[in-house]
Each structure stands twice: as structure tokens, then as C-alpha cells.
Symmetry: C2
Subunit: 117 residues, 2 copies
Amino acid sequence: MELPPNVLSQSCASRRYLALVASKWSLLVINALDDGPARNSFLMRKVGGISQKILTQTLRDLAAASLVSREDHGTLPPHVTYRLTPLGQSFRREVRSLIAWVEGNMPALRGAEPDQH
Amino acid sequence: MELPPNVLSQSCASRRYLALVASKWSLLVINALDDGPARNSFLMRKVGGISQKILTQTLRDLAAASLVSREDHGTLPPHVTYRLTPLGQSFRREVRSLIAWVEGNMPALRGAEPDQH
DNA sequence: CAGCATCCAGAAGGATACTG
DNA sequence: CAGTATCCTTCTGGATGCTG
């Protein structure tokens, strides 16, 4: 007798992972990752406006959820690469679709500028 | 000579709408909305854990982006309903897909609990 | 019933300096 | 180059009480 996951339920564990989805920086980093390995500095340049601190934190969170894997080549100067896991690649398809929707619907979304509170 | 929207660019206006996407409460409210009209109290009950303040704020933001429409029946006691616009329904498809992914991949995501910082 | 105003604790995140 | 540490500001959002 086990209930299926349901994000609308406050107590459902899926809420925890939704937080990962509903994070601006996670979405952008996932979107920036291609199939090959990517380095810290590369991602810093690719994701406009992200800080070193946030990038590191985001990558750690994504790695903890096993969406990306981290490989430290142990050289000096350091050479560390990040790569999407198969699960991460599956997730990236969702993210890309969402982002494509936003970019594609910019004309419709314009005209009604969102409040800034 | 106009560039296409690109969320990876810090200055792109699409970033503003991405914030709407990358919001836990927006995703849950959109997900909770069916095709018919929905009332405040109904949404409060359906979206577990949301407060009155946040629900109102979220609905206002979604309305400002013309994803939902607000209809005040002008009666007393007040009767106000919210409804997805066609644009909102299109968006809901994306959201549902994303949420289905999260719920469907719970088994894979478990095992690697995300950090709480 | 819908929603606004106020207060406030905690989280997010930017800037900067430093280290192996 | 990759990452940590510290400080500090801004934003998020919960709680409560009030109004037409």
C-alpha cells in the first residue's frame, strides 16, 4: 500500500527534487551542459551572470542528485570536469523543452510585463 | 538584425520569464489548474503548504504574464475565479511533463539525497 | 470569501580575498 | 584553475490581524 509520488502533496518527497527543478541556476547549468565534459571556467563563461560561488554550489547539488558526475584529474594546476549522467541527459531533454517554450513564446509573453513586486 | 532569445545570455529578456518558470509555487499552481475555473479557496486546498499571501502573489504574477485570467464576479461574499489562458494551457503541458519526470524518476533520484547546505 | 498590510526569520546570492 | 571562506545585502515567504 504505497502512494504514488505527488508534488501537490506537501509531504511528498518529490517536493525536494522539485526544488532542484525550480531553480534558475540549475536549469541554466543543465542547459549549458552538452554531452562532452565541461570545465568550471567554461561554464562560468557560458552561463551569463553566474558567480563562482553559485556555480560550485549548483554543481554540487546536481552531483548529489546524480544528474552530473564530477571528475578530478588530479593535476596541477587543477583540471576538473563535469559531465551529465544518463539520468542528467534525460533531465536535460525536459529542461531544453521548457526553455525552448519560454524563448519561443517571448512575443506572447511580452506586452504583459511581469510585476517586480 | 535581431538576435534570437537566449536564456544563457544575462541580458536577454527571456531571463525575466525564466524566473517565472523557475518558481516552485508557479509550477505547482499551474499544475493544479485544470481547464475549468478555479477559486482561491480551492487552490489553497489543492496546493499543499501554500499560504494565502503567496497564492495571491503567484496568481497576480501569472496573470501579469497572461498565463491565467482573473474573473471577479462582483458578488458579496466575493466570488473570484482563475482560469488558464490558451497560452497558459500550452505552458501547463510543459510543466506537467517536467513534474511527471520528477515524479517518475523518484526512485533514481532517491539514494542520492540532495544537500541542504 | 478574497485579499491586503505588517512584521519578521531565514534563505539566496553577490563581492572580495585567499589557498593548494 | 578550481575551490573555499567571509561578509553583507536582498529576496522569499510564513504568521497574524484586518477589511469590504
